[in-house]
């Protein structure tokens, strides 16, 4: 049997487009986060609270990713920030080329922070670089404290963990200490925040982190952050 050697990463094409996106973000002085979680963890609510809290402090643009509908973009547009909706029509994650196309329709110049809200899915988005500075994984306490162990790759590939819906802790079977420990077993380098988008608890600390990290230094590789 004849053999043709190839030796090429399957995701090389995605990674090349992601690198071009990253260069564009850097050129525009944008700090970019890719928010990932299972459906219903509160990604859009956290985006809303973040925009509200950072109003007058950071100029924010938002890319929303969903399998269907522009409901999220409509929600976010109520806050008067540039927003564009990507509808994947069935695909379970965003890819770098979808983000690249979306960038043509959104204001980047003069903005400080670009929030990309990925499709709700705790598996597939983990493997796709979109050009972001860091992935932020959200888990709500209603999902249970064992999720980091069940979906390790997402926690491994994220730099920040936001534990959301902490106002519901008295009503659900979730030990937040165990949740933290499980997440840090998977990725000891995670920066962890606890938030409630209903009561507003913890939103200030999370937003403080975003302010500290805006305008990454020249030569910023996407690996280091404060």
């Amino acid at each position: 049997m004849d053999v043709i050697t190839i030796e090429r990463k399957v995701l090389q094409k995605n990674d090349e487009i992601a690198s071009a996106n990253r260069a564009l973000f850097k050129k525009n002085g944008l700090f970019t986060i890719n928010i990932v979680s299972s459906p219903g963890s509160g990604k859009t609510s956290l985006v809303e609270k973040t925009i509200e809290h950072l109003s007058g402090k950071l100029k924010i643009s938002v890319i929303e990713g969903d399998v269907q509908t522009d409901l999220d973009a409509k929600r976010v547009s109520n806050y008067n920030v540039p927003v564009v909706q990507i509808i994947t029509n069935g695909a379970c994650h965003l890819e770098a080329n979808l983000v690249k196309d979306a960038l043509e329709n959104i204001e980047l110049k003069g903005r400080d922070l670009l929030i990309i809200e990925n499709v709700g899915n705790l598996v597939c988005p983990a493997g796709y670089d979109l050009g972001e500075d860091l992935k932020v994984v959200i888990i709500s306490v209603t999902e249970g404290d064992d999720k980091p162990l069940k979906y390790p790759k997402m926690f491994m590939n994220s730099k920040v963990l936001v534990i959301n819906k902490i106002d519901l802790l008295p009503y659900v079977n979730c030990n937040i200490k165990v949740l933290r420990e499980n997440a840090l077993k998977i990725n000891p380098g995670l920066t962890v925040f606890e938030t409630s988008c209903t009561s507003g608890e913890g939103i200030d600390k999370w937003c403080g982190f975003l302010i500290e990290n805006k305008n990454p230094d020249p030569g910023h590789s996407g690996e280091g952050f404060h």
């Binding site: 049997m1 053999v3 030796e7 990463k9 399957v10 890819e95 493997g127």
Partner: protein
């Protein structure tokens, strides 16, 4: 579900790297898959076959080299073979570790039928039959 996208990427890589005259001779596409790559092997194979079913690659399938998850501890220097995804060194408990294997997702090579065998490619014969036919 992202296996469908990955299967499409694999087929594209084959199209880009194999001369068009050889495409219908491709028998196996050899892919390295790490335990930590987040890929379901059966799903990827199924997706690939579905994607190439009406193309010149329709006689080809995936051959998988599975790479286990391994960690190196930067504190004690030991290599860990612990449970999938855990970044804690099982020797000393340090979190200062790095992945040394298990993240792979790479097309390594393609294996082609020889032109002689290709005359019979529509039959799903075994390799011993291939030998007999090609030496006739």
């Amino acid at each position: 579900m992202h296996e469908l996208s990955l299967a499409r990427d694999i087929a594209d890589i084959v199209y880009q790297n194999v001369p068009s005259t050889e495409l219908n001779h491709v028998k196996f596409v050899v892919v390295k898959i790490g335990e930590f790559s987040g890929v379901v092997v059966d799903s990827l194979k199924f997706s690939y076959e579905a994607i190439v079913s009406e193309t010149e690659l329709k006689n080809s399938g995936l051959e998988i080299i599975y790479i286990p998850f391994r960690l190196k501890c930067n504190s004690c220097g030991k290599t860990s073979y612990n449970e999938f995804g855990m970044m804690i060194c099982e020797e000393c408990g340090s979190g200062n570790t790095e992945i040394i294997s298990g993240n792979e997702l790479q097309v390594v090579e393609v294996k082609l039928n020889s032109p002689c065998e290709q005359d019979y490619s529509s039959d799903d014969f075994k390799s011993s039959d291939e030998y007999l036919i090609s030496t006739k």
